[in-house]
Amino acid sequence: MKFLTFLGKRLALAIPTILIVTVLVFLLQQLLPGDPALAMAGDEVDEQSLAELRIKYGLDQPIVIQYLRWLGGALVGDLGYSIRNSVGVTDLVLTKLGVTMQLAVASMAIALLIGVPLGVISAAKRGSIADFCANAFALSGISVPSFWLGIVLILIFSVNLRIFPASGYVPFSEDPWRCIMGFVLPSFVLGTGIAGVLMRHTRSAMLQSLGTDYVRTARAKGLREQRVVLRHALRNALIPVVTLGAIEFGQLLAGAVLTEQIFSIPGFGKLLVDGVLYRDYAVVQGLVLVAAILFILASLIADILYFLINPRLRS
């Protein structure tokens, strides 16, 4: 019951948060210099055609009207029209949602599978060679730019070894093998970046956990070290890691701009960048809205995980 009220309160807060975000983004876009009609039509066009374009896309209306029109549409699921792509934004976002989700989940899986165990090992064997290597790995994961790593991996694995495709996305339904192979390199690039951060957080949370009284008690009771670390210390260390993981996952859902650009993956990131560069206001609004919703969902999942991990929250 307590959990349900908690969840209810979080959801209720989410709505004004999302609204404020959409207003902010709308205003920020208006601040951007540049005329969407001009950005779309280019310099070859006369003033009359530009004026017609503005009327066609409602750009001649006052800002408040434009926002309210958009909001009204969004409430019924119509996120407006993409000037650049000539399709509805809702359709555009839905087609790319699947791709972005797949990339986000794959990257997060790699990040968790590498980052958390490395953090645990490095904390448990603090000061050893294993700790040193794990730290070096984490540092490079955080420092190495994603676009550099991406291109290097493409050169090695696609051009020279011909194991993975260099770029592009093929739907799972069309060619499952190619689809999976196409995700390996980009999710590795994204995943290692996050793994580094996760590893460091896991390590410090674990070190804190391993220094507590109850862990000392467990050891004094004669429990095997592995059981102490995994069954007792890790559970408490996971809470900050879950928080971080949810935030990182939320960020992945907003689209990994550089990685998608390098690997030509049609996800949110590329769409967002093009939307800004071509002043395609509706696309940027729609994406920000969806990303905000997904981010809130991700943190709600994190809250559920806390409940599962930490029995004290359940009482």
Binding site: K56, R84, N85, Q261
Partner: protein
């Protein structure tokens, strides 16, 4: 263990099956995702790639920039120049089975002119109305005697014939499923993913062969585009840059073809657009800037000497180039003298440059060269849309832009340098030049046309509303599996005649 092996074998087989199905498919890597595939609104150069495969035009232009028939067989300009007769090819069908008739041409031209926000309108300004003479003959009645120019424009997007039935049914959404009369029909498009087209069985040219399917894949980073070409993912990679070329020379599976581009890179000066034109208004100042620049050194250093230096809106080997105004050599003393005469020995101005590598590097090179003449040029980076806007509103002193180029020289100069030209951000106005360019649009004598454009080039070099720096070459990477590819100066890939070995 055996279960795992079986699964692995199954996965491998599925992978092989996947590649086998794709053998009749040609994959082309283009440099950005095109905008909507409707000839009325399509603007980006990348849009021309899939559109050329899907939509045939009334005419086409060959690699020597001569007009050749495509959907039309011939044209005739009336003696008084006020009308153009076009005779259509019989037996042409659109992808939906509808026939190409004079009525269809009339419908499409009206659509190009009257659709709100049409980007083709400026290419058809000379057209008063379109008349159907008989099912295969169209007469364009003109407002001004610019028949030849109209023919050239009908060899571009304005001449792409779309099926009237489909256009009426789809309206604004035509760009999502174009229906035309080209060698390939539209299959599907994933925005920013790929555009897929397949062979049209009823194409009018029965002798045309080519791959069964073509996929256009936008890959924005040229390094990745090359990687995809080298790994065999794609078989054609367009728009490679000179710095990309060395890594391809060693690769036996890839070759590079190139041809001179039709466009030019230019630093445009604000000579008369608002208060900021004060800085560079004096022509001596602009001539001083040019005198301090060594174009050849720049092209050699930055572009492996693969681009052409230029100073006019056509490249030096063009028949329209004014040989009495050749590309000048650097003369720092002259620059300093001109600045003293103009009363600004320590000239300072700002150049707007988009965040694009070639222009950024060139701007820095020029900055260093100008500094040696005592000129301080500040570089301000702006994104393209912002710079476009600022250009329009006169919020600049100089901006670094380029024009992709058109087959007819008019397309390279009229909109850019006439008094009312929509792209004349300098607001430069020379009545004599306007008269020459208008006459050049109307004359039917190639001889006169050449004389006129040479004079126009001379005037522009003297008045210098902009400083043209170089002309690019197009570099296209091809897999050795591709044959029949002929590079075209307009950078558009003609898919007819291409074949893909397995």
């Amino acid at each position: 263990m055996t279960r795992g092996l079986r699964l692995l074998a199954l996965a491998l087989m599925m992978g092989w099956a996947g590649t086998a199905l794709a053998q009749g498919t040609l994959r082309i890597g283009i440099n950005e995702d095109p905008d909507a595939l409707d000839p009325v609104t399509n603007r980006l150069a990348s849009g021309r790639q899939p559109l050329t495969a899907i939509c045939d035009k009334l005419f086409d232009v060959n690699t020597d920039l001569e007009v050749v028939p495509q959907l039309a067989e011939s044209y005739e300009i009336a003696p008084d120049g006020m009308s153009l007769i076009v005779k259509l090819r019989p037996g042409v069908r659109f992808h939906d089975g509808e026939p190409l008739t004079a009525e269809a041409v009339r419908f499409v031209t009206d659509r190009n002119i009257n659709t709100p926000g049409s980007l083709r309108r400026s290419e058809l300004t000379a057209v008063e109305r379109v008349e159907v003479v008989d099912p295969l003959t169209v007469r364009f009645v003109l407002k001004r005697p610019q028949g030849y120019l109209l023919v050239i424009n009908l060899a571009e997007r304005a001449g792409m014939m779309v099926s009237p039935k489909a256009a009426q049914a789809l309206g604004d959404r035509f760009g999502t499923q174009p229906v035309c009369a080209g060698p390939y029909r539209f299959v599907e498009r994933v925005p920013q993913g790929r555009i897929v087209v397949e062979r049209f069985a009823d194409y009018w040219d029965r002798s045309a062969v080519g791959p069964d399917r073509i996929e256009y894949l936008p890959i924005t980073d040229s390094t990745v585009r090359i990687a995809a070409l080298r790994s065999g993912e794609i078989q054609i990679a367009e728009r490679l840059t000179p710095t990309d070329l060395p890594q391809l020379e060693a690769d036996p599976n890839v070759r590079v073809v190139s041809t001179a581009d039709l466009g030019y890179h230019i630093i445009r000066f604000n000579t008369n657009n608002g208060p900021r034109s004060q800085v560079l208004r004096d022509v001596r100042v602009r001539r001083a800037i040019e005198a301090a620049v060594d174009r050849q050194a720049m092209v050699t250093a930055l572009f492996e000497d693969k681009y052409l230096v230029g100073n006019q809106f056509v490249n030096p080997s063009s028949p329209y180039y004014d040989t009495t105004h050749p590309v000048p050599a650097r003369d720092v003393a002259l620059a300093q003298r001109l600045l003293r005469e103009a009363g600004t020995p320590n000239l300072t101005f700002t150049l707007l440059v988009p965040a694009e590598r070639e222009r950024q590097e060139a701007a820095q090179f020029i900055q260093a060269m100008l500094a040696e003449a005592g000129i301080t040029m500040n570089i301000e980076t702006q994104d393209n849309a912002t710079m476009l806007n600022n250009g329009r509103r006169g919020q600049f002193e100089a901006l670094f832009t380029f024009w992709s180029g058109r087959a007819h020289p008019d397309g390279n100069v009229f909109a850019h340098f006439t008094c009312q030209g929509p792209q004349n951000d300098s607001r430069y106005c020379n009545e004599e030049l306007d008269a020459i360019l208008t006459r050049a649009r109307e004359t039917t004598s190639e001889e006169e046309r050449r004389t006129l454009y040479r004079r126009a080039n001379g005037i522009l070099v003297d008045d210098k509303p902009g400083m043209i720096l170089w002309h690019r070459r197009t570099f296209t990477g091809l897999s050795t599996r591709v044959s029949g590819f002929v590079p075209h100066p307009d950078s558009t890939i003609r898919v007819r005649g291409l074949s893909l070995q397995q």
